[in-house]
């Protein structure tokens, strides 16, 4: 059980997929325009990562080394198809706003990276812990980015139709650049620099 928590905790902060390992930028920058999208994307990634880590780790001894990457990709693509169909059926609005970025989870480096670096070498329970930890780390990072972008770019924040707050001046004159593509680069650059600064201060 101790090992389970260790693997779980590792993905959240120490090796956070976005801020520390710098993996999977494409979907993170593209869908972080609103908190709703960030939550939807994280749920998609959680499901796919959990499924692929589980299966990859369960069949790790049966797969010949030479064909492992194609096998992993097919497993991942299967789970992505399932997520797509579920989102299309139950949350059509979210499915529309995530657009092509939901199917693009297939080529997200985080998922193939975890399958290759972790699940193909470790037993099922630690692989599940790893998938949960990394997904939560991904969600936290995506939440921070989208929180900043939505509140600065639209002046208010609402989560699934519930209005949480409206900022005083920005409510009337939002800084639209933050929800445009360049804003994603700006927020990400500053957050990365901030996390590096914290890392440097800690090690000194």
């Amino acid at each position: 059980m101790n090992r389970f928590w260790k693997e779980f905790a590792k993905g959240i902060i120490i090796s956070n997929p976005l801020f520390i390992l710098a993996l999977g930028f494409c979907p993170a920058l593209a869908v972080s325009t609103s908190v709703d999208n960030a939550i939807g994307m994280s749920v998609g990634v959680l499901f796919v990562l959990l499924g692929s880590n589980l299966i990859v780790s369960a069949i790790r001894k049966a797969v010949p080394n030479i064909v492992r990457i194609p096998v992993f990709i097919v497993i991942i693509a299967t789970f992505v198809t399932v997520v797509n169909l579920i989102f299309h059926a139950y949350v059509p609005a979210l499915y529309e706003s995530l657009g092509i970025y939901l199917p693009l989870i297939v080529v997200n480096c985080i998922i193939l990276g975890r399958a290759e670096a972790f699940a193909s070498k470790n037993p099922v329970t630690s692989s599940i812990a790893d998938a949960l930890g990394v997904s939560i780390g991904f969600f936290l990072a995506l939440f921070i980015i989208s929180f900043l972008r939505e509140s600065l770019g639209t002046g208010s924040l609402s989560v699934f139709g519930v209005e949480l707050f409206t900022l005083p001046v920005l409510g009337e004159h939002p800084m639209t650049i933050f929800i445009l593509p360049p804003g994603a680069f700006l927020v990400m650059a500053l957050l990365l620099a901030l996390f590096r600064r914290i890392g440097v201060m800690k090690s000194e």
Partner: protein
């Protein structure tokens, strides 16, 4: 004709793959330090995007749609792209060794490049005709090449610039991405 030109310009400049759609960010941040590498990578991606668009158009219109199994498109496309990349690699190795050495490790990496899967999904979503798919993939690829080349020039200057320690490397490259993105956003009025 004007329809095709507007697809091309929209894919290449206004909705640039890297700066507006965030597809193919890894090569943008990773390999774009030398001009030669950036050009090779850009051409390799354009080539694979073009061939993948044509191949997936035929698969989409003659297999997936007639049999009513469009929901299988993600699995189908990723397998097609992976095998295409392998075939192109073998073909170039046999016919043109200089080109093979120039493209080097970039070819196999393209399989997991979001830009290639992205263009096939966009073609399917917009239900483009064969000609429109070709123009869209060319536009996307050339836009990608264009931004990689610009970035490689800027990266060379950044190497010698005095940036704060925490901003070195990736963060400052992202800031450059933001400035480039703003510039390209201004082209939005073209169409």
């Amino acid at each position: 004709m004007s329809e095709l030109i507007s697809i091309f310009l929209s894919m290449a400049i206004i909705n640039n793959f890297i700066l507006a759609k965030f597809l193919g960010l890894c090569p943008f941040f990773g390999v774009s330090k030398k001009l030669g590498n950036a050009v090779s990578m850009g051409f390799a991606v354009t080539l694979v995007m073009l061939i993948a668009s044509i191949a997936t158009w035929f698969i989409n219109n003659y297999i997936l749609i007639p049999f009513g199994v469009e929901y299988m498109n993600i699995i189908m496309y990723i397998l097609v792209i992976a095998s295409l990349v392998q075939m192109i690699e073998l073909f170039i190795k046999r016919t043109n060794l200089t080109l093979y050495n120039a493209l080097g490790i970039y070819l196999p990496l393209i399989t997991t490049n979001c830009a290639v899967l992205g263009i096939t999904l966009i073609n399917a979503k917009e239900s483009y005709s064969l000609l429109e798919s070709v123009v869209a993939s060319l536009g996307g690829g050339i836009g990608f090449l264009f931004v990689l080349v610009i970035m490689s020039g800027i990266r060379e200057r950044l190497e010698i610039a005095d940036t704060p320690r925490a901003m070195r490397g990736l963060p400052v490259a992202m800031l450059v991405g933001m400035l480039l993105g703003l510039t390209f956003y201004g082209f939005g009025g073209m169409i």
